[in-house]
């Protein structure tokens, strides 16, 4: 009996770029392409072939190896395009690897989306059976769990209504309910929790953690760091098709977050040369960068935020008012930190200057905010004003969901306490 559930050895997947860009190549294109390649080949065979290989292909995955022990719950994290879904597709045999091999010991259930194969003309009942069969359940098994599935989805009254008449919420609930009752030995899940409203997401997550705690092997792909941290003991971080970290969840997630998500992270310097701005231009913001914890982490609620600006001046100049503003994604002004408030005019030299802001405790909930920059004099002459200079991503190591931040009650965080006690006349 093998001691692993999933063993991946040097898996690689190469895609042809041509095939990816023109999705429906016609026969004519193929013939024309063949003719052209033939001509090139006739001229310089080896060179043409090598050039074509280089130009038209890329590796979505390369040299990926990992073991998943039986009963282990492993998260697969990484930015968009890192190869997570490709790996999951290979392991669930939807697509073939170009090189390497993988072994799977046990019955696999894979969920790349919910509701695969749902047909709008069929009723809820019919779709449950169809979708169950597609996911690999036996008819008897589905019949046995049918009532449970319908109850979980809360669509009892509409069982015999075609799903095209369902609301999108009912449709998703039914789709997830079928998937949730799949009982494979190895479960592979891709981002299916990122659907539905907040309460439904909670329900899904609850079901997922039940599954995870039943001793099944789970491979879980998600951008939702909260879900990953709740479910997974171990995480594998993919970047550009390669494994860059593999280990305890907290460490891998922290590493993933510190790399920044999809380019919106603190490590990059934002070039402001092309920003939409107004003002006389005697002073100009050239670039900006930000970080949370010293050492380059992203800002977290209640933590510090450092913003460093490069400012050009056309001569020695005293700038009374130099400010950063933070707005919500909806445009509400949340923070305005102005040097004038401190009574500390900035003396700029001719040429390049560096201005550093430090917010000791940033009371913002996880989410995406917009930072604006302002420079002017005391009587409100605008030297340079960029209303939206760059996006600021506040993350919560524990609570935040990057990329798919759940709707929060508000932008601002506060410390609070709550307790309950018996009122007058309460039973003892």
């Amino acid at each position: 009996m093998p001691d692993f559930a999933i063993r991946v050895e040097g898996i690689g997947k190469q895609y042809r770029l041509g095939a990816a860009t023109s999705r429906y190549p016609t026969l004519r294109d193929a013939l024309a392409g063949a003719a052209r390649q033939g001509r090139e080949f006739a001229r310089a065979p080896a060179r043409a072939a090598a050039a074509r290989r280089r130009a038209d292909t890329f590796w979505a995955l390369r040299d990926v190896s990992m073991d998943v022990a039986r009963g282990e719950v492993v998260g697969l994290v990484g930015a968009n395009g890192a190869g997570k879904t490709t790996l999951l597709k290979i392991l669930s045999r939807i697509t073939e690897p170009t090189e390497g091999r993988a072994s799977i010991a046990g019955r696999v259930g894979s969920l790349l989306e919910v509701g695969t194969g749902f047909h709008p003309e069929l009723t809820g009942r019919e779709n449950v059976f169809l979708n169950g069969a597609i996911l690999g359940m036996r008819r008897r098994e589905i019949a046995r769990k049918f009532d449970e599935i319908i109850a979980f989805a809360e669509v009892e009254r509409f069982v015999d209504t075609p799903v095209k008449h369902y609301s999108s919420g009912m449709y998703l609930r039914l789709a997830f309910a079928v998937a949730a009752h799949l009982e494979p030995e190895i479960l592979m899940v891709d981002e299916v929790l990122a659907v539905g409203d907040a309460s439904f997401q909670r329900k899904c997550l609850g079901k997922m953690s039940d599954v995870a705690h039943e001793g099944r092997t789970v491979l879980f792909v998600s951008h939702n760091m909260d879900a990953v941290q709740r479910l997974c003991d171990r995480c594998v971080l993919l970047d550009a098709g390669r494994v860059v970290a593999d280990g305890e969840t907290a460490a891998v997630v922290a590493r993933y977050l510190s790399r920044g998500v999809d380019g919106a992270g603190p490590e990059g310097v934002v070039d402001l040369a092309g920003a939409r701005r107004e003002g006389t231009g005697v002073v100009r913001f050239r670039s900006a960068r930000y970080e949370g914890e010293a050492g380059g982490g992203p800002p977290v609620p209640g933590g510090p935020l450092d913003i460093e600006l490069e400012v050009d001046s056309d001569g020695p100049r005293t700038v009374e008012s130099l400010a950063i503003s933070i707005r919500s994604a909806g445009g509400t002004l949340l923070v305005n930190a102005d040097a004038m408030e401190l009574g500390r005019p900035m003396s700029l030299h001719m040429g390049a200057n560096v201005v550093r802001f430090r917010i000791a405790a940033l009371h913002l909930n996880p989410g995406r905010y917009v930072v604006g920059l302002w420079a002017g004099d005391a009587i409100a002459t605008t030297f340079d004003h960029i209303e939206a200079a760059f996006a600021l991503e506040v993350v919560g190591l524990r609570e935040a969901a990057l990329g798919a931040t759940p709707a929060r009650n508000g932008a601002v965080s506060c410390r609070f306490d709550v307790e309950s006690f018996a009122g007058e006349g309460a039973a003892p």
């Binding site: 093998p2 026969l27 669930s92 993988a102 072994s103 069929l122 597609i134």
Partner: protein, 303 residues
Amino acid sequence: MTKEIVAPAAGETEPDAGARSAATARAGPVTPTVVTIAPRRSWGMPDLGELWRFRELLYFLVWRDVKVRYKQTFFGAAWAIIQPLATMAVFSLFFGRLAGIPSDGIPYPLFAFAALVPWTFFANGLAQSANSLVANQNLLRKVYFPRLAIPVAAVMSGLVDFGIACLMLLGLMVGYGVFPTANIIWIPALLALALVTALGAGLWFAALNVQYRDVAYVVPFVVQFWLLATPIAYPSSLLPAPWRILYGLNPMAGVVEGFRWSLLGADTAPGAMLAVSSVAAVAVLVGGALYFRRLEATFADAV
């Protein structure tokens, strides 16, 4: 993948595998089967055992196609009869009446309809299976199962229509006072021949269609030419006997003549022709299956 399997039989991802081995070996813990995933390069036949293990999925796919086919149509399942019946009327008028084409001593409408029933099954089966992979691309991209199930289900879903049309044919025979001969027992075999032909050609087109959507435009032409190349509006007895056997290279010629012979008692027993047809049909099917299996690995990426 089929060649790379390590432990028992072929890739056991079958739904109930765990449960079943548990039933047979209750004593010890269930030994999970190991599936090895690796690139495959060789030619080979699709794994029919695996298709068999997924027979419930196959059933549900057929069931879905049957259920959905006439949803939101006014005439519903009557379409299964309207199609061949309308064609029969046109053929009877133009070929039977105006052109005076012979019909082996059988009333021309019956002569045409007996051929149109299996032909309609074949033509729909071919068209449906050719389009099946593209129509089910969401399944191909998101779930694993033997890909063969999709075109097979597409062809098989036409069996219901075929059954309905057969009843109509029997009614028509009664109307004309023609009663089937004992050779009617050959009908299932003839139907199987039509199915094999439709599936064989369907596999080629379905696999090609994933890469080249030109197929969608080619198939209607192919069906049209094939119709003319099959003795539906005319009897194969127009050809001299030795050529008739060669005609069997079109498997549908054998099917159609077989139907007339077994149901209507047309005097020519198409034995030799059917033998040629069977060989041709199996060759098309095997070729289609090989080609299908060869391209199978690329479906999810290319569709």
